[in-house]
Symmetry: C2
Subunit: 278 residues, 2 copies
Amino acid sequence: MSAILCVFIVFDLKIMGAYTIVPNNYFLELRLMVLIEKYISGVMRNSVLDSLNVEDLKDVLNHAEFVKLNRGVIIAPSFKPLEHVYFVTSGMVSLSLTLSDGAVVETGVVGSEGTVGWQAIVELDAGPIDATVQIDMTGYRVKASQMIALSDRIKPLRKAIIQAVQGTLDQVSQSAACSQRHTSTQRLAKWLLMAGDRSPEPTLHFSHEGLSILLGIRRAGVTVAMGELRRSGCVTNGHSKITITNRDRLELSACECYSALKNEAQRRSSLISSLNQG
Amino acid sequence: MSAILCVFIVFDLKIMGAYTIVPNNYFLELRLMVLIEKYISGVMRNSVLDSLNVEDLKDVLNHAEFVKLNRGVIIAPSFKPLEHVYFVTSGMVSLSLTLSDGAVVETGVVGSEGTVGWQAIVELDAGPIDATVQIDMTGYRVKASQMIALSDRIKPLRKAIIQAVQGTLDQVSQSAACSQRHTSTQRLAKWLLMAGDRSPEPTLHFSHEGLSILLGIRRAGVTVAMGELRRSGCVTNGHSKITITNRDRLELSACECYSALKNEAQRRSSLISSLNQG
DNA sequence: GCGCTTTTGTACTGTTTCGTACTGAATTTT
DNA sequence: AAAATTCAGTACGAAACAGTACAAAAGCGC
């Protein structure tokens, strides 16, 4: 689309013999206009980017690259230098920690409300956490090296990123509490709700085996918990397919952690917007 | 000490009749010199402050207040606006989340390696986390309102704070994994080691009841776990007194989480210092 | 020293989850 | 269509831990 548009313009300018009067940054501006237009008119948004004004957004998008990544891609492997900072616009990334016995524990998830790899702004690497795509995602990514300069230059960007970090911290904290106090069934329900919120389609594609790893319980435990949810009419499930049929009832089966996180995100965002206005 | 020093100087200046040649900021400089001297020569240090150069450190300490706080003080209550940002120099603060049924879950601890209330730099409040003094602490604190300006002005401060946040996030993540996969005894051992590292005296003053809340297990469970540790010769315990008698053996009883966190903190700090030099 | 409170040690039952194994169903490969 | 593979449902003993209760020990106030 943008390529075709460019050809037309160039053609047009040629006809007019107006080569020399085109300012140096004409095509850059054009490209940015297309980028901004694509971002703003799109349904795919990221909360951090949304908090920026148009000028800052241009600045960021000018250094960004739009990517689609499928499930299983590790966008930030643990202990490795971060190559990119990701602004997720759709799908879901899960943050997980691997213990020395090989057990994997999911500590949080990131969707369009957050960023992955933010540590790059202070020149840190990924630390002990792996960030893996769990639901096919799209997003904008900025090279880590460029991100440092951007976040130094654009204060609102820095601020929004750190505010998103607080969201991740909330979530990891809640995870810690949740895995300690709540039953498998409650946690499965919570996880399905969170995944459902970040999935473009009503059916989630996860096997019990996969869920058992994410929830840190046995595969058989997932089957039992899923059976409970199915019998109470919240979900239907088949081979690697789970469909939420009754969201409200599923929330009743979930622990408070789901609504706590949702409320807190809501509270934080209204706190921020009231500050920005006042 | 600093007061006596001032009096002498003033007296000296009077004798010399040198009132008028004293620059406006003479006493400010003097006060800062005393502050810096007190900080640098002291055994009480904070990693974030330590990463600053003298000029920036002066700037921060000039807006800071030295405080001693005893166990039980909530220095940052959940959902409340943050009054201060704390740079802990000794003792220990625990971060905890309270579930709706009243259960409290400790999600991490902060000692002289970190800060409490850092969210103030992006104008957030405390969120769902309570920060409570667990081992009598000392530290410098800066009013939240002043901290915003400071962190905007001093890039290295901002950077060090965010790097410390990564440390807290590591810890909360490890907590989430730990409470899911490791036994009560392992977790008790881990907790005692972490508390021991941050305590000025060899004996920790905690009752089984108190520990049970922090670890999220039954009081009787703590007694049993403590008995195991005692029988394996790691600790001795009496009424609200726990003494680590064999640190190495206690580490063997603890889960990997303790050493994982320690290694990661070490790794991060050498990563940072290599960046600052390179 | 004496009574009261706090703290600790221990025991017992019930629940949850684990580890494991076996089976059938659904899907993919050949 | 048959074979192979993946996935889901179920079962059962073992382990860890919750909930609870009770008594002994240590410390505190008078």
